[in-house]
Symmetry: C2
C-alpha cells in the first residue's frame, strides 16, 4: 500500500470491503464460485488458468486484470474461454469497485467458477478483497525460495498455493525446504501443489482440489 494518511487508508479498505461483500453475494446467488488468482509478474497466471479450466468439468469465466493491454484476455478468448478485461491504468491491484462493474457487465449465466486474474504483483493484491471465495497464490521456482519471507501477506492469506515452473528446478538453486518452512510458518495448513505450466504436470491434482473446494 502507498503511504497515505491513515484515515484515508481506513476509508479505502472499509469501502472496498463493503463492495466486496456485495460482489460475493451477487455471485453466490448465481451459484458462481470466485477465485482470486494472485502472483508476481510472469509467475504464469494465464497459463495456469488455461491448464485448470481445461481440466474442470464445470463452466468457467475469467476476468483479466492488467495495468494495460488485453494480451491475456485475447489469448483466452481464442480458446473459447469467456474473458472480460479490466485495465487499471496504473493501479497495482484490482479492487472491489472494479469487480462490481465487471460482474454486472459480463454475461454470467450462473453456475461454474469465475477466475479473477489479479494484476501481477506480490504485494497489494493480497490486501484487497474483491468478492472472491478463495485466494489462489501462484509462485514460480525461478523467483527464488525466499519469497514467503519477503512477501508474507500473500502467503498468509492464500487458501491454496501453486508452485510453478518446477521443470526448471534442475537449473536453479531453489531450496524447497527453506521455501516450505517459510510457507508453513505463515500458513500451516495451506495446500501446496507443484505444477509446470509448460507441460501441464501437477494440474490434475490442483484442478481436482479446486473442483471439490468449489463444490462443482
Amino acid at each position: 500500500m502507498h503511504v497515505v494518511k491513515k484515515d484515508v487508508m481506513v476509508d479505502i479498505h472499509a469501502e472496498n470491503d463493503h463492495v466486496a461483500e456485495h460482489v460475493n453475494g451477487y455471485l453466490s446467488e448465481k451459484g458462481i464460485f470466485a477465485v482470486n488468482l494472485m502472483g508476481a509478474p510472469g509467475a504464469g497466471k494465464t497459463t495456469t488458468l488455461e491448464r485448470l479450466i481445461s481440466r474442470l468439468p464445470c463452466k468457467s469465466y475469467v476476468i483479466e486484470g492488467d495495468i494495460e493491454s488485453d494480451i491475456d484476455a485475447a489469448r483466452l478468448r481464442q480458446q473459447g474461454i469467456p474473458a472480460y478485461q479490466i485495465n487499471t491504468f496504473g493501479a497495482c491491484h484490482l479492487d472491489a469497485p472494479l469487480l462490481h462493474n465487471a460482474v454486472h457487465n459480463m454475461a454470467l449465466d450462473g453456475g461454474g467458477i469465475l477466475f479473477i486474474e489479479n494484476v501481477g504483483n506480490l504485494v497489494c493484491p493480497a490486501e484487497f478483497s474483491i468478492g472472491e471465495d478463495i485466494k489462489m497464490l501462484l509462485v514460480s521456482v525461478t523467483d527464488g525460495s525466499d519469497k514467503p519471507y519477503k512477501y508474507p501477506l500473500a502467503f498468509e492469506k492464500a487458501d491454496v498455493i501453486l508452485l510453478n515452473k518446477i521443470d526448471l528446478t534442475p537449473y536453479l538453486d531453489f531450496d524447497e525446504g527453506f521455501f516450505m518452512e517459510g510457507v508453513r510458518h505463515l500458513n500451516p495448513d495451506v495446500p501446496v501443489f507443484q505444477v509446470c505450466g509448460m507441460t501441464g504436470e501437477g494440474y490434475d491434482e490442483a484442478a481436482d482440489w479446486l473442483r471439490r473446494r468449489a463444490g462443482k
Copy 2:
C-alpha cells in the same frame, strides 16, 4: 498506485518529489551517484548488485528496500558491502521520505555509487522518485516476453535495462524480438544488457556502462 482521491495523490507526489530533490542534492554534494534498482520479485536484484559491485573500481553502498526481512542486507554485509535496510511493512515501493531518513543515518564517506534496491514490484516503484540519478530496470527472461506491454511505465522510465537469467532461455519460449519491440516502442534509446546472475555473464559490459555513466 492505489485508487484514492485525486487531490490526495497529487499531494503525495508533490511532497515526494520535493524530498527526492533534497536527497539528490545531498548525495550530489557528497559526490555520490545514486542508482534506483527496480524489478519484480525474484528478478535477481541482489545478485545483480553483487555482480556489479565486484566489477566497479569505486566505493559502493547499498540501501535494501523490503516489505519485511533483512535477508538481502545480511547477505551483502557478509561480503563486506555496506548495506542499510529499509523495511516498508506493507508499502509496495520506496519513497523519498524513507530515503531521506536512510541517507542521513548511513555512514556515507562520499564518492562512489549508492545502489538502492527497491521493493520487488514492477508497478509502483516506477512512479516515485527517490533521489536517484538513474533508474536501472532488471527483468528476467523467465517472466516472459510480454512484460513491456503489461508494465509499460517501468520500461518507459528506465535509463538502463538488464535482461537477466539468459542461461535459462533454451528451456523457455521467451521471444526476444517481441520483447525488444515492446521496449523500443516505449524507450527507443535505452541500453539493454543481457546478463546471467548465476554465471556473471554480461556484467562486465553493464558495469562498464554504469561506471562511465556515473563518471567514476
